[in-house]
Amino acid sequence: MSFVLVQVIVGGLLLGAVYALFSSGLTLVWGMMNVVNFAHGDFVMVGMYVAYVVYTLLGGGPLVGAPLATLLLATLGIVVYFGLIRDIMKGPMLAQILGTFGLALLLRYSVFWWFGANFLSLPENLVGGTFDIGGIRIQASRLLAGVVALLVTLGLHLLLTRTTLGSRMLAVAEDSTAAQLMGIRPDTMQAIAWAIAAGATGLAGALIATFFYVVPTVGETLGIVAFVTVSLGGFGSVPGALVAGLLIGVIESLSGYLIGAVYKDMVVYALFLGFLWFRPQGLMGKS
């Protein structure tokens, strides 16, 4: 295998890990309560701005920014759940779509109003520069995001499969009335799910901000990939989103390099549709 090709694949894996990290919150919210959160990308955007503010005001890197973004976004998630989601969940699907889409615009243009439309950027060497392993270059900031993506996926998976809290959350997802009869409060569980999902987006945002530009519309740029990742992985499956993210990252990189960047989306979406044809529930979704 040629040398460049290895670099292309490594780059694709790192990109894919970011897609996975970006998507975990979206798939969790879907899995827990069948809500497609169109504001997802904009939650990540808010996380990126938190990281930016932490850097400019406190001079702190992702070690400060990431936990703070996670906390703030988790809080925002709870507020959004009680202020909006709880009510629109009772309505038709269209209400969810428009409700979360409205929230997306509210977040986007609040940030726009506050920070302006300018593109912002964190310093390139905020996370230890770039490793050069035998000529293969790995950016520390992307590697960090990749490692965190793995940890978040593992953590969420363990939470859902190995803990009482996870079982309760799944019980509410399965049948909220029955869960209520067993003494589980659906509201609390779903609020926790939103807090975790939104916290994960904050974390993702703070890490992505270390190597991507920050702008109010960035959620839109990255958001579409998140939806593809989640549907390919299987709606609601956290490990599925990881595998799907990595897959999309590598396919994008390879097709971009071998065929041309203009065609990479075409390749990804053609494969994606072809795959759904055979397996509509996605890689790891329940049929």
Binding site: T130, Y213, G256, V262
Partner: protein, 417 residues
């Protein structure tokens, strides 16, 4: 007097006042529509465009004797219309050609604007100006460079900016001179998005160079607002072109700069085609890792106390950012439109159109470094020109070519970070 009577009287008074002011307004203000990407992916450019137009409005509507003989500055309002003030109605194209078109329609039919300007992205100027053409409303564009905009046989479209064909020539001359001074310029790569702007500028450069017997060795096209450009940078890194010409909007330009650094790729020469590379937020975000980048521009801030320096100061006070080439070209376009309305002495479309056709502005009447403004039958300014600038310190561009306008000598090779 009972309460209801009082309310009635008051509202009658209010209505009369409203009617009175609107009648007054009709007499004393001239409405111009401006379509820009005020939200969406290109909002950064749109917001700067709006600030530029607002500064121009200030200069036109208020007395600015400090600007000397700069057209429309000395007295308040348009002298040709008895001191009438200009009013600009801004509309947001949201980065979408269809929205731009709808906004143009609204500005013309609802707001009754007498002329239009905008719309930043060539692809949106294309659709927006089609509406003004249909309604017979003059459209003056100061910044969109896709060559085909003035190749449509339009009667109401006028463009002041130099366009892709002009720049292709400047690039060729520049590269020829750099080659004479020892730089390698044989292997040229074009990196561009697939928007109207990116695709058409790339095509124009390719054919212009071909006429001179130079084949573009590598063409790297990508979809705008990319989430990742590693594979494109690796393609360049593998082919090792001598010159990389970047034709990119801001978001992609920033991502390219970051990715080139992380993959440790520096072309010997990086020549950018304005757009993203002129955006002040590009310089703030990644200027420090793009040191040595060449770019094109027609704007130069000039000596302290000069009209251009004063305008630059007004702009910085308004927007918080340094004046860049794109904002300046937009402002120049707007001044030309205002000047035509002033000379027309009327808000009638046909008279403004006639005045635009008769435009003959000299370099000293301009804020841009054009050789003048004079439109051909297609509506293109035949005296538009540009120069090459270089980001030598990672913060501000300096003019490096042609020699007559150069502030500093070009520095090779591209340094990056």
């Amino acid at each position: 007097m009972s309460m209801s009577k009082l309310v009635g009287l008051l509202s009658a008074a209010a209505i009369m006042m409203a009617l009175g002011t609107s009648a007054f307004a009709q007499q004393k203000t001239v409405k111009i529509g401006a379509v820009f990407p005020l939200t969406g992916q290109a909002a950064s450019a749109g917001v700067h465009a709006k600030a530029a137009i607002e500064v121009a409005l200030d200069i036109i509507n208020n007395a600015h004797p400090e600007l000397g003989n700069f057209p429309l500055a000395k007295n308040a309002g348009l002298a040709g219309l008895g001191g009438a003030k200009l009013e600009v109605v801004f509309a947001d194209n949201q980065g979408s050609p269809a929205t731009g078109q709808n906004q143009a329609l609204r500005l013309i039919t609802e707001e009754k604007v007498v002329a239009l300007t905008g719309a930043y992205q060539s692809g949106i100027t294309l659709t927006t100006s089609a509406i003004s053409e249909k309604y017979g409303i003059p459209f003056v564009n100061g910044e969109s460079v896709a060559a085909n905009l003035t190749e449509r046989g339009f009667k109401w479209f006028f463009r002041t900016t130099p366009i892709a064909t002009d720049f292709a020539k400047v690039y060729y001359d520049f590269l020829t001179e750099m080659k004479a001074s020892g730089a390698k310029t044989d292997h040229i790569a074009l990196v561009h998005d697939t928007t109207e702007y990116g695709a058409s500028v790339a095509a124009t450069i390719t054919s212009a160079f071909k006429e001179k017997g130079i084949a573009i060795a590598q063409d790297v096209a990508y979809t705008t607002n990319a989430t990742d450009v590693q594979s494109q940078v690796l393609q360049l890194k593998e082919k090792k072109p001598d010159v990389v010409i970047m034709i990119s909007y801001t978001s992609d330009a920033i991502l390219f700069a970051k990715t080139m650094q992380s993959l440790d790729y520096k072309p010997p020469m990086l020549l950018a085609d304005d757009a993203g590379y002129s955006d002040p937020s590009f310089l703030k975000a990644v200027g420090k890792i793009s040191i040595g980048a060449f770019n094109r521009s027609s704007w130069s801030v000039g000596a302290p106390g000069s009209a251009t320096a004063i305008i630059a100061k007004l702009y910085k006070d308004k927007s918080g950012d340094e004046m860049d080439d794109t904002a300046a070209r937009e402002m120049q376009g707007f001044f030309v439109l205002a000047d035509a309305i002033d000379r027309a002495g009327s808000t009638e479309s046909a008279k403004i159109q006639a005045a635009l056709k008769a435009t003959d502005m000299k370099p000293e009447q301009l804020m841009m470094g054009y050789k003048g403004i004079k439109f051909d039958d297609k509506g293109q300014n035949i005296l538009a020109s540009g120069l090459i600038i270089q980001l030598q310190d990672g913060e501000n561009y300096v003019a490096v070519f042609p020699k007559a306008n150069a502030e500093k000598a070009p520095v090779m090779p591209y340094k990056g970070w």
